[in-house]
Amino acid sequence: MAKIITDVVCPFCGTLCDDLEVKVSDDGKEILEVYNACVIGTEKFLHSQAEDRLTVPMKQDEEGNWNEVSIDEAVDYTAQMLCNAKKPLMYGWSSTNCEAQSAGHEIAELCGAVVDNTATVCHGTTLIAVQDVGVPSCTLGEVKNRADRIVFWGCNPAHAHPRHMSRYSIFPRGFFTGKGHKARKMVVVDPRSTDTAKMADLHMQIEQGRDYELLSALRVAIRGNPLPETVAGIPRETIQDVAETLKSGRFVVIFFGMGVTQSLSKNHNIDIAIALTRDLNDYTKAAIMPMRGHYNVTGSGQVLGWQFGFPFCVDLSRGFARYNPGDSTSNDLLRRGEVDAVFVLGSDPGAHFPISSVKKIAQLPSVCVDPHYTPTSAVCKLHMPTAFVGVEEGGCAYRMDNVPIETRKVVEPPEGMLSDEGFLERVLARVKEIKGVA
């Protein structure tokens, strides 16, 4: 008889769906089926059962051959690498729990490292903007129960956050939104006709890289000031229409993604979007929220925030925390040759960083901690496999609206497998030994 575990939290995207049900075998070792999750979430659970899964650390020798090593050797190599470096980079942290992040930060503090998370190539610009101008935000529960004007700006939840629209933003019937999606107006701003855009009441097919101008134009329209005939390829009348639609709503929420955070204008796109939200609050209630990607990238920002005061790219090399995106961000450090060791956990820069940065990782002493064999492991000197957080290990994760949710363990990891936190604790102990601190 298989048993069903309910209220399981999905460790894939920032939506952090908490209504999954997982059918496991009687002995609790095998996942048979996953209910309620999207295809990507389901795959995340089922992949932990893959037969070709890595279970032992692998180290690359001088000639580039991979050999199995013991966990003790992996711990020692990692600790020695971090202790010997003048400025090690500890990157990733978004696909692990807050407990592991906290343990990692302790190592970083002892070694004078730079700690950076995936926000650096994703919503880091949002965090810069929030620091510049503040943010009026809300929780996803409020969106479900109250929001009747939804804007998706430069994001495609239909593919990137598959259950976002059905759980929170478009379809659900909430306390004050009893008619569900019939009572909601959906505006999508995207240069492409995405699957999300196809569902919208209004799709503003904007010229690439002109988001800043269009957001500015919306602010001008809300203030009732004159506008040029077209802005960013959108006619004046449409812009004024959208401004009216937003003003007439009871609760406006702007969701935005990497279409604005990582295209021309970057953080300024977000600070003007926040300014637009602030302007809308003169007429109605409005909030803005980033569509965070990794399930716990928000948590990494939170943990870094309460430990060091900054949400990403924290430079601890001088013994105090410094933060300046453009100087202390991973790609700038790698590209300019400012770091001499790289430690990666819970992310895959090998697949997502520019090739100039990846080449630098390949030249440096480097460690990759990941349940999977990834493009990052291919360029690192040591690959340390660990248990899947949210599948084989519990722990705290933050949803995209900054709500902490405790993830659940559903199956046992393969025998002898360490968790991220367990591995980091052992590295920390070894670092303390090498540095001679109690």
């Binding site: 003048k86 500015s216 001008v220 204008s265 090399s317 001088r318 995106p325 100087d327 400012e338 770091v339």
Partner: protein
């Protein structure tokens, strides 16, 4: 005025933080004492003498001290940070944060400077013969006070985000600039002798931007007002005056609304 000469001898493996290269830190010290000042390479504390030959001696005060760096210091950050009087000449290129938060004195870089030069500058002069990077004369992250006074002159081009949150002082770029000029500015003057790109004066509350060349796309919040004849940085010409950013708040003073101004040369 006494002169201290620094000659780079050993390139650092990584980059060094050298906020001690200022007339203030050097004042009243001889060459040996200056060579003993600390610099930081990653998490290692080193001495200035490890990377530079130090010759000459400093004056009694910052005002009486001139520092000459003979050569490229492209791996040295924070030259002239928080300097308060005196003079620095770099006979090559420098890295980030040249003259950040400087209060008075002058810095002359004969090569290029990288990003964040003149960050939060409060006074003094920076002259760059080559190009400047991004965030020239801008605010530090999270600060609403960018450059407040002083002058920055760049003979080459400058990057993006120059004069962000600027509220005083003058930035002159003789070449071209990248996107975002004077974003969030609440004062100050930016003169671009070459071409601008888009997003000039976005969210600007107050201040003036002069563009001698082209502007790719004007921000939608700017309204053409009139033509004016002006003398700007030694050049007389006719300019079209635009006021904005109409999407942003604008304070009223004695019944008059203050706007940001963009002057574009005909």
């Amino acid at each position: 005025m006494e002169t201290v000469t620094l000659t780079p001898k050993e390139q650092p493996e990584l980059f060094i933080d050298a906020e001690n290269i200022t007339p203030n830190a050097f004042a009243g010290k001889n060459a040996a004492e200056i060579a003993g000042l600390s610099v930081f390479e990653g998490n290692q504390t080193q001495t200035l003498g490890q990377y530079f030959e130090v010759a000459g001696k400093a004056g009694a005060t910052a005002e009486e001290t001139k520092i000459v760096i003979k050569g490229d210091v492209t791996k040295v950050k924070y030259i002239g940070m928080r300097m308060n009087g005196g003079e620095i000449v770099v006979e090559g290129s420098a890295d980030m944060y040249v003259g950040a938060w400087m209060e008075s004195g002058s810095i002359h870089v004969k090569g290029n400077v990288d990003a964040f030069s003149g960050t939060g500058m409060k006074g003094g002069e920076i002259e760059v013969d080559g190009n400047a990077g991004n965030y020239l004369g801008a605010a530090y992250r999270g600060d609403w006070r960018g450059m407040q006074a002083g002058t920055i002159r760049v003979h080459g081009n400058a990057g993006s985000d120059i004069g962000t949150f600027m509220n005083g002082g003058t930035i002159i770029v003789e070449g071209d600039v990248d996107v975002h000029v004077g974003t969030h500015a609440e004062g100050g003057t930016i003169i671009v002798k070459g071409n601008g790109k888009s997003k000039i004066g976005g969210q600007m509350v107050k201040g003036e931007i002069y563009v001698f060349g082209t502007i790719d796309v004007m921000m939608p919040g700017y309204v053409y007002r009139e033509d004016v004849d002006l003398e700007v940085d030694g050049a007389s010409a006719r300019f079209a005056l635009f006021e904005g950013d109409m999407g942003e708040r604008h304070p009223k003073r004695k019944g008059q609304v203050t706007y940001g101004k963009i002057y574009q040369k005909y």
